[in-house]
């Protein structure tokens, strides 16, 4: 139990996927203009990450290892994740057109998102059990959502402030992301994970 908690806290705060591991920067910058959209994206990522972890774990331990083809890990994972995200996209488009519209082109981006692939690979590297892996995935996704929502809040506020023209848009977003990442350094050493 304690182990799982440590994994969770570590993935959310200490080794935050976006702000400490710098994975998934593209949606972090792209889908963080509005808090609502960020929440939607966060939920989509949480879902994808969790499902991807489950599937890749099974692929790893029931397909790749038994057949001795671990060297195909990357390509197999990409294949699985890509088709999975396609599936999610179709479902969302049908079930919630509003959410689909606000997530826009970034849903397909989860397909090739290094955060998801990175998570799957890290899971295997760290020799996590199935339960640990899922916990790690949820933690990572929550961390991603946390960073995304915090950042979206900041950007919404920036919209109302008098940022000099040359810094408007992505420039100031990158600076803010840097400062946010600095603040997250405070969690360093909180738990060894």
């Amino acid at each position: 139990m304690v182990d799982l908690f440590v994994i969770l806290v570590s993935a959310i705060f200490v080794n935050n996927f976006v702000l400490a591991r710098f994975l998934g920067i593209c949606p972090f910058l792209g889908v963080s203009k509005k808090v609502e959209t960020a929440l939607g994206m966060g939920m989509a990522v949480t879902f994808v990450m969790t499902v991807a972890t489950v599937v890749t774990w099974f692929v790893q331990y029931f397909v790749l290892i038994p057949f001795g083809i671990e060297y195909l890990q990357t390509i197999a994972f990409i294949l699985v994740i890509a088709s999975l995200v396609q599936l999610v996209e179709m479902v969302i488009q049908k079930v919630s057109p509003v959410l689909y519209q606000s997530l826009g082109i970034f849903l397909p981006l989860i397909t090739t998102n290094c955060a998801v692939l990175g998570l799957a690979v890290l899971n295997i590297q760290k020799d996590y059990t199935f339960l640990e892996g899922v916990t790690f995935a949820i933690g990572a996704a929550l961390g991603f959502t946390l960073a995304l929502v915090l950042f979206a809040g900041l950007r919404e506020r920036l919209e109302l402030s008098a940022v000099p023209p040359s810094f408007r848009g992505t420039a100031i977003a990158l600076i803010t992301a840097g400062l946010l990442s600095l603040a997250f350094m405070g969690f360093a050493g909180l738990v060894k994970g």
């Binding site: 390509i75 294949l79 699985v80 890509a82 396609q86 599936l87 179709m90 488009q93 049908k94």
Partner: protein, 281 residues
């Protein structure tokens, strides 16, 4: 090797089946014409059409609810493209630009009081009808400038809005925010305008503005077909703009202006040097 190929192939197959199934089960109907229309629209989402963004306009177009010429930034070219996609006859709109019908900046026009507060024309207009004595004159607080999606409007240091004819796309955003209807849409080909918006009697106009139209009819007497005077205010009959310049020198208050020869004083907008554009005719 065989195991690798087989297992990857199997994974691929499973994924393909799942996707194929989902494509059937969760298919969403999108009118292909809508996508095609969206493709050709400028994508500025300026809202000039009155719909929320280009996607909204595309939807309305495909539904056949409106005319094809509601997108000023797209211009005539877009109208023909849209007509091709939607299979309708095109009715091209003549290109238009917005013009500020006022030259009464803070030096030339009288102020009735000193205004304190929000830098916004609509807000100032609510306080005793705006600080300018002239009821139609430009307040120069820059509401149109902030509304312009194309940065085509500047406010001169003397407090007058000036619209660049090169940058203006005719989107009408400025018109909707101007509380005094000082900005008008005019045909791009006509460069001559009576730059005044006051319907007050000549004597009153003289009192509060050095450069306002006093309704003296001299322009109309000089070129009868090119000017119309109503309620003490002259107006160019734009169909006859070619001969309208003849009256420019005759105007006693110099409120008729030919933009082909440059912008009002104080504006940093350079005189139009492109011969194509200045004699667009």
């Amino acid at each position: 090797m065989l195991a690798a190929i087989l297992s990857l192939g199997c994974i691929g197959l499973v994924a393909a089946i799942a996707l194929g199934f989902a494509a059937k089960k969760f298919a969403v109907e999108v009118d292909p014409r809508e996508l095609a229309v969206l493709e050709v629209l400028p994508g500025a989402n300026c809202g000039a059409c009155g719909f929320p963004g280009c996607a909204g306009y595309a939807k309305a177009l495909v539904a056949g609810k409106i005319d094809l010429n509601q997108c000023p930034p797209g211009g005539a070219e877009l109208v023909t493209q849209l007509a091709n996609i939607l299979g309708v006859e095109a009715s091209a709109a003549a290109p238009e630009v917005a013009v500020v019908l006022c030259q009464g900046d803070n030096h030339r026009a009288q102020l009735k009081y000193r205004y304190l507060g929000l830098e916004d024309c609509t807000a100032a207009q609510k306080i005793a009808d705006g600080p300018k004595s002239c009821p139609g004159g430009c307040l120069g607080l820059g509401s149109c400038q902030r509304a312009c999606p194309f940065n085509a409007i500047e406010i001169t240091p003397e407090g007058l809005a000036v619209i660049s004819r090169e940058k203006c796309t005719g989107c009408r955003k400025c018109i909707s925010v101007c509380p005094r209807q000082t900005i008008r849409m005019t045909p791009l080909e006509s460069t001559v305008h009576v730059l005044c918006n006051s319907h007050d009697k000549g004597a009153l106009v003289r009192k509060y503005c050095q450069i306002g139209c006093i309704g003296c009819h001299i322009c109309q007497k000089t070129v009868p077909q090119a000017y119309r005077v109503e309620n003490f205010l002259a107006e160019v009959v734009y169909e006859e703009h070619l001969v309208a310049m003849e009256a420019i020198d005759k105007c006693p208050t110099k409120c008729i202006r030919d933009f082909a020869t440059g912008y009002p004083d104080g504006s940093s907008l350079l005189p139009s040097t492109d011969p194509e554009k200045s004699d667009a005719a």
